[in-house]
Subunit: 170 residues, 3 copies
Amino acid sequence: GDRQGGISSYAADEPCKRMMVYYHDILYNGGNTANATAAAATQPTALSRSVSINDTYFGQLVVFDDLVTADQAMSSEPVARAQGFYFYDKKESPNAWFSFSLVFNSTAYRGTLNLMGADLMGEKTRDLSVVGGTGDFFMARGVATISTDSVEGFYYFRLKMDIKLYECYV
Amino acid sequence: GDRQGGISSYAADEPCKRMMVYYHDILYNGGNTANATAAAATQPTALSRSVSINDTYFGQLVVFDDLVTADQAMSSEPVARAQGFYFYDKKESPNAWFSFSLVFNSTAYRGTLNLMGADLMGEKTRDLSVVGGTGDFFMARGVATISTDSVEGFYYFRLKMDIKLYECYV
Amino acid sequence: GDRQGGISSYAADEPCKRMMVYYHDILYNGGNTANATAAAATQPTALSRSVSINDTYFGQLVVFDDLVTADQAMSSEPVARAQGFYFYDKKESPNAWFSFSLVFNSTAYRGTLNLMGADLMGEKTRDLSVVGGTGDFFMARGVATISTDSVEGFYYFRLKMDIKLYECYV
């Protein structure tokens, strides 16, 4: 019963692959048709507004096809598309949950990474799980540490994503 | 091509970590603002009501930030928050699908476990997959066996969760 | 820190288990109550219609309990139910994202496989991740290569799924 093939690393301080990228979420506001890459599929629930003057968006689900770049500027090198969804899941304060694929289609990489986990917005950094991969990321697993890098009003935010793979097929 | 680091167990009868916990879902009913920790983000579809006098809720999606405790009583030791969603997905009978994170933030554990799978409500027990973990549960995998422990009307149910990890980083 | 138990294969060209199956999605259209196994839980967003004469359904989320068979005909041998959801996530063209469980309950297999990933509808084949399994598929991982096998109007499509497991517990 042995595993065959090539897994290169499983030590927390030695990922077999690491990428620092930036995720840009531009939410549709009714007017930004050309730029928007995300849109709310559901409205916040009544529970959300019932406990907070500042709506915590509890129950709002957003679907996205967001740009991921190598640097902070949206005009920097495109790395991937992030395709998936997030929703707000806490009544007392904004808190979210994500599940999405990073879709790579460049000279550097072709393939996908699949992620999911809690976006504990009250914490400076939080960890999502990389639960699978395909193509150049065949069977990958790891952890993505995210932090909020910028928020501009209601319709744009940027996350810094430090993606560390600990299972790589080589 | 060998794996490095520490995986302690991969035998079905020998999990490397096991936890029995209780998940409490208190659905918002329009009046229980203080207690509710879950809310419906979508209504059941017309298909749901078209085939059953007893609505099977087909298509209803519920977002939650639910309490998880060590014993059956909600007042027992808090273990984690369960943050995520479920929805009903069968027209003939109630049947659900879950995806969520268990968020631990106590002296015992800090970190998350990420789960997903079919909640086959017609069966006494059903298995979800633990597909990843972070923090104290770094890179964990396993199976969570759930069973319905209590149902009180339309707005409260409790699941018993027997969480067995078979991949642990130590 | 060694892994115990039986993982039989981790080479890309040698899955430890392989299944070719067909997934049938019959969307509720208001009239096909007896046949429908899927229903839209949300409507497409305004963003969807704002950029395309042909609606790209951006933001529409569909919940399903779909039949999976051994051959193309719906009347061929039933293999599993696919229970989960997909949604459309791109404004310029139809593109989807899936997360679901394959629920097996036959003489051949009992248990579930849990899948997620991007359904890049513009590509002939695309890969989803198999991120976990239960029962006869205890702790499985792998890749499912899907392709559109048939589209009949707005309310039926069939996917061919080539499921390759590279981690099997034996």
